[in-house]
Amino acid sequence: MALLLLLLVALLMPQQQTAPPRPAPAAQPPLAAPASSALDYQFFKTRVQPIFLKKRPGNARCIVCHETGAPRLQPLPEGQTMWDEEASRKNFDAWSRVVTPGSEKSRLLMHPLAASAGGDPFHAGGKHWTSKSDPEWQTLLAWVNGAKGDGK
């Protein structure tokens, strides 16, 4: 009977411990701790990810560098215009690491913003926005500040 009880308890235990370990993230510069729990996946998927694919005059698209660089964007198969669910989840995990929820100083916001607008001095991927009032930068800020759903 005791053996049966032990077996039952073991079966009812949460299974997280036996789940396969998540792959180690790619080499990252010193960043904030993962903040995905405070950030909304749906907003990221529908509003933030398109920014990573958009071509801005004079700039390379984010995807071109971050497909191999950190934080990583999953490769986009040829002919596909948006990431699938699995890839979007991976992107969300990777990019949540460059966000401190609620902080305008998040690396995601400061790195690609022109220094003259308050951004970091240098981003190896160039400066994509010259003003904090840029709608795309505002979308990123909204995600950092906890916007949910499709944001509409």
Binding site: P29, N59, R61, T68, P121, F122, H123, G125, G126, K127
Partner: protein, 349 residues
């Protein structure tokens, strides 16, 4: 009237013959060659062409998203650029700045180099297992992919054209490809990833030394080319009281080399301290540093010039240093994050 017409037609025919004969005897006009610097913009979608005489941008090659390296045809007829977004070598006309060919590579490229006779271009493939693709410039076709050990960052053809020397960041291996057979002649493993390289030469034109910058090493390594042995290494100077710049270094604290046309001075960049440093040759004695701005990258010195052109990634500018006066004389705005550059005589309109 008839006679007039007859004579008139005869004279016209004679004129045509004369003009034809004249045209046939006049040699084809030689293209005008001008010293240019070609600056790629690593986070941009264009390549800037700078006139050395005026230090002004004279042309922009558009539609190359993430251009990595550039090499110039020795006859000045072509500008070659590795295109990271399409995995191609893009060929541009230096007179029109238009792309005339896109040559598909075997993988994602980094840098490239052209042989002194202009017949071949070698492009490093920056993905495992590693290769150097060979472009035949007569046909503008990718004719061979030479397997090497590790993804290739840079490749350089030696001044005598006998070797294409490639370096891998991932494996720290230098591979010297014999250009007569396009096979690997020798390899050398270094202490960390292989970054920019440059050569010194013997009086007969053969390669004397291979000078290398390495990942995470703020300095220079010198390798004897004949024996493939490292002979010396030294660090670039720290600047007392100045904090090292470490953000965005991408594992390469020193990422640019050039040798002056008189072969007496070696220049190297420091991303830690935003300077270029001069060393005398052949003794590698330190001369001085000159501040050029945030994240100096590649260097080039055009033929016949005393000026050093520095791709300064954090300034979106190519900075010009007069190596005689030892001072910055110009800042030329270019595109996003300018890194690699090259110079030579290019055809102009």
């Amino acid at each position: 009237m008839t006679r007039t017409m007859k004579y008139g037609l005869g004279a016209a025919a004679a004129s045509v013959l004369l003009v034809t004969a004249f045209v046939a005897r006049v040699p084809a006009q030689r293209p005008v060659l001008k010293a240019r610097v070609v600056q790629t913009n690593a986070a941009g979608d264009s390549v800037h062409v700078i006139d050395v005489a005026t230090n002004k941008v004279v042309g922009v090659i558009e539609d190359i998203e993430v251009p990595h390296g550039t090499a110039l045809a020795p006859d000045g007829a072509h500008i070659y650029v590795t295109n990271e977004s399409l995995s191609t070598v893009d060929v541009a006309d230096p007179r029109t700045f238009k792309i005339t060919n896109r040559i598909k590579l075997s993988g994602h490229p980094n840098n490239l180099s052209v042989t002194p006779d202009g017949k071949k271009v070698y492009a490093g493939i920056a993905q495992a297992p590693g290769a150097v693709d060979v472009i035949d410039t007569a046909t503008m076709k990718n004719v061979k992919s030479v397997p090497v050990e590790g993804a290739i960052h840079n490749v350089y053809v030696t001044p005598d054209g006998k070797f294409a020397v490639s370096g891998s960041v991932a494996t720290s291996i230098i591979s010297a490809i014999d250009t007569s057979t396009d096979t690997v002649a020798w390899t050398l493993k270094e202490s960390s990833g292989i970054r920019p390289m440059i050569f010194t030469t013997n009086p007969d034109g053969s390669t004397k030394q291979l000078i290398v910058q390495l990942s995470n090493y703020h300095g220079i390594v010198v390798i004897d080319f004949a024996t493939h042995k490292e002979t010396t290494r030294f660090t670039l100077p720290d600047i007392p009281g100045r904090e090292r710049e470490t953000d965005g270094i991408q594992g390469a604290p020193a990422h640019g080399l050039a040798i002056t046309n008189d072969k007496k001075t070696l220049w190297a960049t420091s991303k830690f301290y935003d300077y270029v440093a001069a060393y005398s040759l052949p003794d590698f004695a330190f001369i001085r540093t000159i501040d050029v701005g945030l994240h100096p990258e590649w260097l080039t010195i055009p033929p016949g010039s005393d000026n050093l052109y520095v791709g300064v990634a954090g300034k979106n500018a190519t900075v010009v240093v007069d190596t005689k006066a030892m001072k910055v004389i110009a800042e030329i705005p270019v595109g996003q994050v300018p890194k690699r550059n090259a110079s030579g005589m290019l055809q102009s309109q």
